[in-house]
Point group: C2
Chain length 196, copies 2
DNA sequence: AACTTAGACTAACGTTTGTTAGTTTCAGAT
DNA sequence: ATCTGAAACTAACAAACGTTAGTCTAAGTT
């Protein structure tokens, strides 16, 4: 008797994916066990495999989902005929709202992607490199057009990307200060530093 | 026959600690195995225990070493009778040079401290909270004295601390652009954003 | 020459890991 | 009432884990 695997979005699969994201975020991918995940879903470990194929598939799904959103966003930003500073602001605002709306997933994809196994690890590394390059090109454009200071664009990208990483404490803070206020704080600090 | 443990700084223990930092950085603490560490030191896994007491002790040492340096630095900064902007610049420059000089250790302490076990995990969480508070107080001082813009000081701290997290790619970049240039890029971007 | 000891080794331990096999359950369709 | 199939279960697997016990080696001290 062969079992069919749910390829489409069953409700349970979604629950597992979400629980996994939360667990991976709290413990780290490697330290999180399938038995722990199972119990957080309210099921035995073996039962998970009625819905998923492997632990690594869960991480893969999380990482590639996030990557896809960021890439399709920068696709759009590049298309627009705007000044570099507008493009940069759009990128930053997208980063912020992604973090607020997809907290665990974005966090996990950022800190745990190294645990992907080949060939996806290499491919993912390439995706990240590519994204940074395109981000950097937008900044360089701003520098060339005298909109921005003459800083090293790669350094700037890294600062921007990593500034976004503090999601952990954010979630606590976002209840205290308003979401929009947070966003503006961010934009102020990061954008004013680069403006000429 | 009871074996004495090397409590003082044997050369081998230092080698193990450094290899551990490098390995923990590359694979993550949980995914890194003692057998892997041993082989990177050129020894069998069991032999490591002639020099160390446990895997978790290695992480503990790394994290607390780093914490001690950061705390004693902010101790000094607080003592100085200077404007907030000078204090902030000193903090930022210290962060940067720590990352450049103690690459792996700082990276590991920042990303893997959650893998500490109790009671050190709680204690370390407290140390981090305390550091952020003191950092935040310095920024708030600058706001009160009208040196800085009226941003949320906690948000600013998080941006600053996390901007520092991009050490990974830095090490590659620091060979391309000069160390001092990197530092100045950083200071420009982060400090100009907050200045009034 | 005999003794000591640091530090390597091999072998093994008890756990925990991700995962598979095979069985049971039970709601919905016939 | 019977059949079906998804999804739970129990039991077990082999592999990998951190760690311990006990032994061997070789350099240094007496």
């Amino acid at each position: 008797m062969v079992k069919k695997k749910n390829t489409k979005g069953s409700a349970k699969k979604e629950i597992i994916k979400n629980s996994a994201a939360k667990l991976f975020k709290e413990k780290g991918y490697s330290a999180a066990s399938m038995r722990e995940l199972a119990s957080s879903v309210g099921v035995e470990a073996a039962s998970l495999y009625n819905h998923i194929n492997s632990k690594s598939e869960l991480l893969h799904t999380i990482c590639y989902n996030v990557a896809e959103r960021f890439i399709s966003n920068i696709d759009e930003v590049e298309k627009q005929e705007e000044k570099a500073i507008v493009k940069l602001e759009r990128l930053l605002r997208f980063h912020i709202s992604e973090m607020l709306d997809h907290y665990e997933e974005v966090y996990v994809s950022d800190r745990e992607w190294r645990q992907l196994d080949e060939p996806y690890l290499d491919e993912y590394r390439e995706l990240r490199r590519d994204y940074r390059k395109r981000f950097s090109a937008i900044i360089q454009l701003g520098i060339d057009e005298k909109e921005f200071k003459e800083i090293d664009s790669n350094t700037a990208v890294m600062i921007f990307l990593n500034a976004m990483g503090a999601i952990d404490q954010w979630h606590r803070i976002v209840h205290k200060i308003e979401r929009l206020a947070l966003e503006d704080n961010f934009i102020t600090l990061l954008l004013e530093g680069i403006k000429k």
